[in-house]
Symmetry: C2
Amino acid sequence: MNISEVAKRAGIPPKTIRYYEEIGLVAPPRDTNGYRAFRDSDMHKLAFLSRARALGFTIENCRTLLALWEDQDRASADVRALARDHLKDIEAKITDLEEMRDTLSSLVKACAGDDRPDCPILKSLGNAKL
Amino acid sequence: MNISEVAKRAGIPPKTIRYYEEIGLVAPPRDTNGYRAFRDSDMHKLAFLSRARALGFTIENCRTLLALWEDQDRASADVRALARDHLKDIEAKITDLEEMRDTLSSLVKACAGDDRPDCPILKSLGNAKL
DNA sequence: CTTGACCTTCCAGTGACTGGAAGCCCTATA
DNA sequence: TATAGGGCTTCCAGTCACTGGAAGGTCAAG
């Protein structure tokens, strides 16, 4: 399978797949013409990566997850720990963003948004008392 | 005022302040010894930047906001439009993260997390049917 | 006069790609 | 058989917003 076909199936741009090879996440063999010849196993790895990335795992965590996936003797506790840590990160990010959203949305509501210069948003950014 | 004093007051690391100067967000004059001599106005700009960044505005948006802040003839509509766009971005991000959180949390709950290899998390990442 | 805490500049690295240039390879059609 | 197009390759550079570190000048205290 050539790269664009794999890209389509895994939902990852060819550029990204080449990048994944560069950092050692996949290692497809080459045809005599130098083209990457993806096997089914490469394809599956890339699909795995695509889904792990979609869940927000970092590349390094994806690397670990892939290794655990391939390790028949893994302990599910290791996988779970990784996922739980990541879940915490996500929850923290959500909390941060919600605070931003709340502040920002109340400022936007308070702003007339007309052609006059008076603006609570700028006022708030200019004064310490948020 | 020297850089570390400003850093403390504005809540921005000295390195970041130097970076902000490099990209033209502030332009403190220099003492004869080459040290940056921050004026009150520089200090206020940096405090403004600190708060705008805390609300998640990009550097380029901060630049625009700063310009609007300094422009006595601005229209509050411009500020509000910027803020509303940013608010939308934040809300979209929250939605994405919430979806990740929900998927991940259900996977974590389904995983025994013991020393056996059987793991719904890896199973889910390995199969298309999420 | 030395110590240590400042300050300066410059260079490089982060994460995870992404864009673009230059050039080979393959297939189909005129 | 020439050529046009697409796809493939590599390599270099840029993104965003810093951050770390090295090498060296400056300042105040003891």
